[in-house]
Symmetry: C2
Subunit: 416 residues, 2 copies
């Protein structure tokens, strides 16, 4: 009778968790504990903190305009180093381990160098090693393209490596070790009464990540949601990790007992507001404005069209990321003859504040509470956008902390 196969655990460690040999030894000790708890363990590691920046600096110094394939060949090497060192540190404490580069697994990606997407992961080799009682240590952030070149998954891509590997292996859970001990109701640096969440739904986490919470790469949450990978965010500096769940579990909505109207308050300073003043108020004007922006790869987020004063012209306001701002202005000016605006008015001193919660689906009044709370503090709302589980407002950046704290209190999120 073959032995019953063990549950599989994927453990991912970020750059600060593997920043030196002493830190890597602590990682090995955490892995050893989970092996003792009866798991087959796959470890995914980032490069030592600072290492990828150093390598990227080299490529920029060599040439500002460099081939993205060479960038990937260079930038991916930091993870190979920490994967090998982690395997050595595990061996040294009696836990047999071997390292894998992305191409060895293989982690197959598309050919979009610099921000590739994972297409498929071969798990046979890793499972063979599991059967021999060997821990698999996989270099994060990297894969191999259809042409056999090394690819990278974009900054923070090791989170996605880990979640995708957990999906491919059918892992019981993916634990993302980082330098914070979980996902908070809001940024604890701003709100001292922020509470760590025990659980958060995939949908909420996705909104939190894309609306400014930096704890997980947005794409990794998408992969976790699609494949229903139970994902825990927890601290590698906390020694109390066992089979309990000390961090925050990202999971299905129906696995969350505590029902909340609002789960968290997020904010993003990476916003720029652009207003086209007095554009013709006629059908097709939105297409004339936003098609050329889309063609240039510029993401437009919040959009509001003012009520027309005179029935002939209107103002169109929207936001982009700060990195896209200069290009957006250029595209708009290049297309000025088609759009026929009077002038462009801009503001980069803005912030987007969002409240997120699946409870909104069934409870009215969340947006009203937000507007009333901000009005009571004298905060002017510049733009509003909503989706099924979030309400976002654009406000002056000076009001960020005031707004986040007031909303955190208004929705009953403050810790006792």
């Amino acid at each position: 009778m073959p032995a019953a196969s063990k549950p599989i655990l994927v453990m991912k460690f970020g750059g600060t968790s593997v920043a030196g040999i002493e830190r890597i030894r602590k990682v090995a000790a955490l892995v050893k504990r989970q092996v003792a708890n009866g798991y087959d363990v796959a470890v995914v590691v980032s490069a030592m903190s600072g290492e990828t920046n150093k390598l990227v600096g080299f490529t920029r110094e060599a040439s500002a305009l460099h081939d993205a394939r060479e960038y990937d060949a260079i930038a991916s090497t930091g993870e190979n180093v920490t994967a090998g060192l982690t395997a050595i540190a595990l061996d040294a404490i009696g836990v047999p381990a071997r390292s894998w580069a992305g191409w060895q697994v293989p982690i197959q990606t598309d050919g979009v160098h610099g921000s590739a997407s994972i297409l498929d992961i071969g798990t046979e080799g890793i499972k063979d090693r599991f059967a021999q009682g060997i821990v698999a240590v996989i270099a994060g952030f990297q894969g191999i393209s259809p042409e056999g070149r090394v690819t990278t998954l974009g900054r923070g891509g090791s989170d996605t490596s880990a979640v995708a590997l957990a999906a491919a292996l059918g892992a019981a859970r993916c634990d993302i070790y980082t330098d914070v001990d979980g996902v908070y109701t809001t940024d604890p640096r701003i709100v001292s009464k922020a509470r760590k969440l025990d659980r958060i739904s995939y949908e909420e986490m996705l909104e939190m990540a894309s609306l400014g919470a930096k704890v997980l790469q947005t794409r990794s949450v998408e992969v976790a949601m699609i494949h229903r990978v139970k994902t825990q965010v927890l601290s590698s500096f906390d020694d109390s990790v066992g089979d309990n769940l000390p961090g925050t579990l990202v999971c299905d909505e129906d696995e969350i007992m505590e029902k909340r109207l609002v789960t968290g308050v997020a904010y993003s300073r990476d916003e720029a507001k652009i207003t086209l003043v007095r554009v013709p108020d006629k059908p097709g004007i939105a297409a004339a404005i936003f098609s050329p922006l889309a063609d240039s790869g510029i993401n437009v987020d919040m959009i509001v069209q003012n009520v027309s004063d005179d029935g002939r012209t209107t103002d169109m306001t929207f936001t982009t990321g700060k990195a896209d701002f200069d290009r957006a202005i250029k595209v708009l000016n290049d297309n000025a003859p088609h759009i026929a605006f009077e002038r462009i008015s801009t503001d980069q001193n803005v912030v987007k504040v969002s409240v997120i919660g699946v409870g909104m689906r069934t409870h009215a009044g969340v947006a009203q509470t937000m507007f009333r709370t901000l009005a009571e503090k004298g905060i002017n709302i510049l733009v509003i956008s909503t989706s099924e589980i979030k309400v976002s407002v654009l406000i002056g950046a000076d009001y960020t902390e005031l707004a986040v704290r007031a909303l955190h209190t208004a929705y009953g999120l403050d810790a006792e």
Copy 2:
């Protein structure tokens, strides 16, 4: 009619030649010049100087006893970085280039991790790129094992990568760029009148390398000799490189016009002398001593057995590398009952001085000149060993410079 294929040139650059982006730009300029000279160029690069030591230091810090496969995965990454950066630097000056890791070429090796031997090199991918006018930049020092793991070729292994690649590609020449401008008749740091050789035969270069000259990895010379790869040693700090041969060409004996009795004087401080005092003078005693040493992987070099005084016992003297010395003593003591020596006498303060030259094959008197020269300087010879094209003597380390200078003069090698 297809275009006639171009001659192929392999250019190898060591760690000091790629020690930073500015140095890598100079490498790119040298490559560009040879592309302009009409060659298809394959570039082989080492890691930035100091980088491999840093990585090896990490592995040692992680565990003194580490898996050689993980060592290789880690230690090989420095070459991937410089290969990518060199490709970027070439692109930046209008020379299309792409980088290759060892596994991508593939450079197939055996599974002896840490000092693997190259078994085969696939050249199809590189030749496809040549046909498109693209320079191939290959990470040196590394290959892939039959099991698909990354291997390394031992310190200095990038020389071997380059020569083996030149053999596989059928290259017109392999240029080894280093921090010296060629092979000298002896170490110029000791003998100011040392002369740079224009040409040296494979056999002589092999003896020079194995007897202490550090300019080329010994194995790379073996590969060059077996495959008759014309190999030039030259300086990457010299800007006068064109299609002339400014360095030293390692080539067939019959391509060398100038006939010399002795080509060079080499010395090695990596020697330890061991004497077994009063061992039984009977058949089988040599086997009793040297078989257990060989079984332990200890290389024994020079051997001399003294004439027996009493017909019953004799002294047996031999040398090992300093790194093997402690282990050799342990093996001998472990086997003391079988060998039956009276005691062990040792001396690590010794040096091996060798004179090398294919002219010895046809001219007698080379050894006598050596012995007479050393005697005139009052230098005592401890052990002698000879081969077809070299004579080596072991002497006290304090006499190294005196002996090397005297021999250099005696064989007429001094520059005017």
